[in-house]
């Protein structure tokens, strides 16, 4: 229990209590003097009255000093901090912001209810105790991003909102929730209270840093309510799964290794670990784990010949179900079938234009096969090519195009194939038709000195560079390009690689259902040294994946719960919307938005019309762990395994002092509610406005003062 003040600076006015004392003393100094012969009678009177009079004077002085003190206190607006929530008398409405932690760790169960249920019960009681003039904002640490300030609701709306907040398996974003809570405090209200109900588990709160709280005035209280801290942190966590080979090969053996951590304080003798494929338990193992120790177990199964492999590993039940299972999914996808057209087959193997590109695409990862099947043909064999057997075609220094080959190639691309045109001295003589390539190609031009490729800033996360991590441009900084075709992108085509002065090196763009790209340099070492740089392999495979990836299978995708699911243009194609099936079986339609960049001035309008924009979308309701399916209009669904973040297993709560360090500049109040408590709101510290009470007291004081002063 303690006091707070809205306007604590006004407490300096407490010096005014000296005023009655000064008046009292001055009045004694300024007394009039009178002589009186009958002084003896007065003396006798005074002797009789002295004790009573002095007492009365002291009482009057005390009353007046008290009255001044109370007026000053009233101005400073004192608040009594005590158990019992936010109920109580007050001058003015309260704006209560409730932040409910619904992250995975709040599913921890004690006394028959989860921490989230206990928190919701307390919050519900608090809201019910508010007056009708009070306003409430309810926020969750895991929820969809909403533009603008949070909604300010009436009591009944807030109760409905509280009931709608569900348990998730995601990591919360408490910093964001606290920031939004503070944003909502901009509405006028005399009393503002932010109450954060959470377990303050290290996994969620350790990284929290909320600056700028100094702007909070004493009008605002930030109260941290620990939920069921007595329940402890006893939990066995399925920390990770390792699946090998990845992606699994159809019909081949496939291993699933699970790492399990005992975060509790007691030894776990028999921790059951089960592997499920679909809904069938296919294997079970048991582990013994010392407190704080981790252990592992591995299962080996055979991947299906085709279709999708869906499964999960699951531990036996304990206090926190969230961390007991992890999901995985993989479609036994087809390998990309790539055809490389060699325009100069007379040259030696190592000088061949196709040598470097074929080598890069055929390279296989450790323990797995290459995801691409590569065929190489000479340019004169193009007439015999069955285009439908390939997903991707690369023309390397092709200077002659057999009759109808160029036309077949255009149709191949428009029907969904990928095409890369690479430069070279021969290629300068002839092009596979005009108008449908993503760039206008000029005559070859040497660069002196040689240039270095760079990735435009806005394209750093383009799928072509997906295997190069952040800042992919650094891998190209030592690549030298000595000769190029000048390229002018057309329509929606974009320059994925440029020289330092912006000259396009790689231009890609959609064409019909497929994609085409032009590489301004050669695929061998004649015009540059890119093929002998390490970046060439991931770059080439990323490029082929991007251009011919529509046919490749979904090897795997995994997300942490709560992370947004990105539906990429490559996957979405021209769909305007996709349906997403959640682990609970709900189907939610996600509208896709155009990813078309702004059109270039001077680009032919016909080109723009012929290339409908690709679309992409972002699905954020992935708070529930499990398998999500993205259903497209055409083609197989995209399946994602959404798992609880490993951080949710770290249940150790942050101390009060650690939380204060993370929320500097504001005085935090702490309280706790117990699991299973019948009225948890009773344990929450609230603030009672002492204004009305003090006002009544002041009125009484003045009445007594008046009566005493008149009673002579």
């Amino acid at each position: 229990m303690g006091f707070q003040f809205f306007h604590s600076v006004l407490l300096w006015g407490m010096g005014l209590v000296l005023l009655p004392i000064l008046i009292h003393l001055l009045r004694r100094r300024l007394v009039r003097r009178h002589k009186l012969p009958t002084f003896e009678f007065l003396l006798r009177t005074q002797r009789r009255l002295t004790t009573r009079s002095r007492l009365r004077n002291w009482i009057l002085l005390a009353l007046r000093v008290s009255a001044v003190s109370i007026v000053v206190l009233l101005s400073a607006r004192p608040l009594l901090q005590m158990a019992g929530g936010e109920s109580g008398s007050s001058w003015s409405p309260l704006h209560l912001v409730i932040v409910l932690d619904n992250s995975g760790s709040m599913a921890y169960r004690a006394a028959g209810e989860t921490r989230l249920e206990a928190a919701r019960k307390a919050a519900d009681r608090l809201v019910r105790d508010l007056s009708s003039s009070d306003r409430v904002t309810v926020l969750a640490t895991v929820e969809e991003r909403v533009e603008g300030p949070p909604a300010i609701q009436r009591r009944d709306q807030a109760l409905a909102r509280l009931a709608a907040i569900g348990q998730t398996d995601a990591a919360g974003d408490p910093a964001q929730a606290v920031r939004r809570a503070l944003e909502s405090l901009n509405v006028p209200a005399d009393r503002r209270t932010v109450m954060v109900f959470s377990d303050f588990a290290r996994g969620d709160w350790d990284q929290v840093r909320v600056q700028g709280l100094r702007r909070l005035t004493p009008h605002t209280q930030l109260q941290m309510v620990r939920v069921a801290p007595e329940a402890g942190t006893d939990d066995v966590v399925l920390a990770s799964l390792t699946l090998r080979p990845w992606p699994p090969r159809a019909g081949a053996p496939f291993s699933v290794a699970a790492r399990i951590v005992n975060r509790g304080n007691t030894r776990k003798d028999r921790v059951p670990v089960s592997l499920f494929v679909g809904e069938e338990r296919v294997a079970t193992a048991e582990l013994a784990l010392e407190p704080g120790a981790d252990g592992g177990t591995s299962f080996r199964i055979r991947a299906p010949e085709k279709g999708v492999l869906l499964g999960r590993v699951e531990l036996g039940p304990d206090a926190l179900e969230t961390t007991n299972r992890r999901y995985f999914a993989a479609s036994m996808g087809q390998q990309i079938r790539a055809l490389l057209v060699d325009g100069d087959p007379q040259r030696g193997l190592l000088d061949s234009d196709t040598f470097y590109l074929a080598s890069a695409l055929r390279a296989s990862p450790p323990g797995g096969d290459s995801p691409m099947l590569v065929d190489v043909v000479a340019f004169y064999e193009l007439a015999k090519v069955r285009w439908e057997d390939y997903d991707f075609v690369a023309a390397c220094n092709v200077g002659q195009w057999p009759a109808r080959a160029a036309e077949s190639l255009r149709r191949f691309v428009e029907n969904g194939g990928g095409f890369l045109l690479a430069g070279g001295d021969l290629a300068a003589r002839s092009l596979p038709g005009g108008g449908w390539l993503p760039a206008v190609i000029g005559g070859p031009r040497p660069l002196s000195p040689p240039g270095h490729p760079a990735v435009p800033l806005e394209l750093q996360d383009h799928p072509v560079f997906s295997t190069l991590g952040r800042n992919p441009g650094r891998f190209f900084s030592r690549v030298r390009v000595g000769k190029i075709f000048p390229l002018s992108p057309i329509g929606p085509a974009r320059s994925l690689l440029t020289l330092a002065d912006g000259t396009p090196l790689l231009v890609a763009g959609p064409r019909g259902s497929g994609r085409a790209a032009v590489w301004a340099s050669s695929c061998d070492r004649d015009w540059g040294d890119l093929p002998v740089h390490p970046v060439f392999v991931p770059f080439a495979r990323g490029l082929v994946d991007f251009l011919g990836g529509r046919a490749k299978g979904t090897a795997s995708m995994s997300l942490d719960a709560g992370q947004p699911l990105e539906v990429s243009p490559a996957a979405a194609g021209r769909d305007e919307a996709v349906r997403i099936r959640t682990p609970r079986g709900e189907e939610i339609t996600l509208r896709l938005e155009s990813s078309q960049p702004p059109s270039r001035p001077g680009a032919p309008a016909a080109q723009e019309r012929s290339a409908p924009p690709a679309r992409q979308g972002r699905f954020e309701r992935t708070g529930q762990a499990g398998l999500y399916q993205v259903l497209f209009t055409e083609g197989p669904p995209q399946i994602l395994a959404v798992n609880p973040p490993a951080s949710e297993g770290d249940l150790e709560p942050l101390s009060d002092s650690a939380l204060r360090e993370r929320l500097p500049g504001v005085q935090l109040a702490f309280s706790a509610i117990r699991a299973g408590e019948s009225n948890p709101a009773r344990s929450v510290e609230g603030r009672t406005d002492l204004g009305p009470l003090l006002f009544l007291f002041l009125a009484g004081l003045l009445v007594v003062e008046g009566m005493l002063a008149d009673h002579i």
């Binding site: 004694r28 007394v31 009178h34 012969p37 003896e40 009177t45 009255l49 002579i712």
Partner: protein, 308 residues
């Protein structure tokens, strides 16, 4: 006479200015004041000069200092070789002795006249009146440690001496009225009239004893108890430091708080004094300095008529 005084309201309407203390206070000479008051009184009442003196020899008494030499019986000196003074029966109509309090407390006055001024004027006026009627008038000025005594005489010129003594007196020091009354009682050889003009702010028991002694010697005694209006009404307000006029003592009081108990105590004192006087057959007149001076004189004349 009673009929005369019963109509005093009527008589005062025309001559009120004669007795108004504020008017009297403007007259600086005590003689003029006395004459002013007496003339005023006489103009309001029917003149009735009392006559009929007796000069029958009664006895000799031993000479004492202060007796006039012409009263020494030289024949008796030759016969007895002692100074003897002749005593006559009914030498005058009346022998009146004024005992006027000259203590410091009499020097107090919030209004136009101090208590001393009021007492002196009253005494002078009465002396003037008595001497006009050929009564013998004596004066005792009561001070803290001694008294000034003027023997009673019936000669007209004696008034000058009385007035001079009153005029010259500057009241100061503590009160000694009780002691003065006892001394007077011891010194008086013949019965007469004693007029006490004082605020009586002395030990009430001692004052009562002094008055009692005077009465035991057969004197008619009238007490003019002079108090200032401020003493009687306590008109002060707020916080005040009240100081004793005769000593250095002072006390700070909340006037509104002490007023009621103070007035209660004062009334108790006045009632006690009045009761003691009544029980001894002493006429008691309480006069406020704010009251017209004629009230005391009229009261005196009424008492005088009764005494005869």
């Amino acid at each position: 006479m009673s009929a005369l005084f019963s109509s005093k309201e009527d008589t005062r309407t025309g001559v009120s200015a004669f007795f108004d203390p504020s008017v009297v206070a403007r007259i600086s000479s005590l003689e003029l004041r006395a004459r002013h008051v007496v003339e005023g009184l006489m103009s309001g009442i029917h003149r009735s000069r009392a006559r009929g003196f007796s000069v029958e020899f009664e006895e000799h008494r031993a000479y004492s200092p202060g007796d006039e030499l012409r009263h020494i019986d030289w024949k008796a000196f030759g016969k007895f070789d002692r100074y003897l003074v002749k005593q006559y029966e009914d030498e005058t109509n009346l022998r009146a002795h004024f005992v006027v309090d000259a203590s410091g407390s009499m020097n107090y006055g919030e209004g136009s006249l101090t208590k001393w001024g009021y007492a002196a004027t009253l005494s002078a006026s009465l002396a003037h009146l008595l001497l006009r009627q050929s009564d013998a008038v004596g004066l005792m000025l009561s001070r803290e440690s001694d008294e000034q005594m003027l023997p009673a005489k019936a000669v007209r010129g004696h008034l000058t001496g009385i007035l001079a003594a009153l005029d010259a007196e500057r009241p100061s020091g503590g009160t000694g009225i009780a002691r003065s009354l006892e001394r007077l009682a011891e010194g008086l050889r013949r019965r007469g009239m004693v007029i006490v003009v004082s605020d009586l702010l002395d030990d009430p028991a001692a004052v009562a004893r002094g008055l009692s002694l005077l009465r035991l010697k057969g004197n008619d005694v009238i007490v003019f108890h002079i108090l200032d209006a401020a003493e009687l009404e306590f008109p002060f307000e707020g916080l005040a430091r009240m100081e004793d006029v005769e000593t250095d003592r002072n006390v700070t009081v909340e006037c509104e708080v002490v007023k009621s108990p103070y007035l209660g105590l004062l009334q108790e004192f006045l009632d006690g004094t009045r009761e003691r006087c009544r029980s001894q057959g002493i006429d008691y007149v309480l006069l406020s300095t704010a009251e017209p001076l004629d009230r005391g004189m009229v009261r005196f004349l009424a008492w005088r008529a009764k005494a005869k």
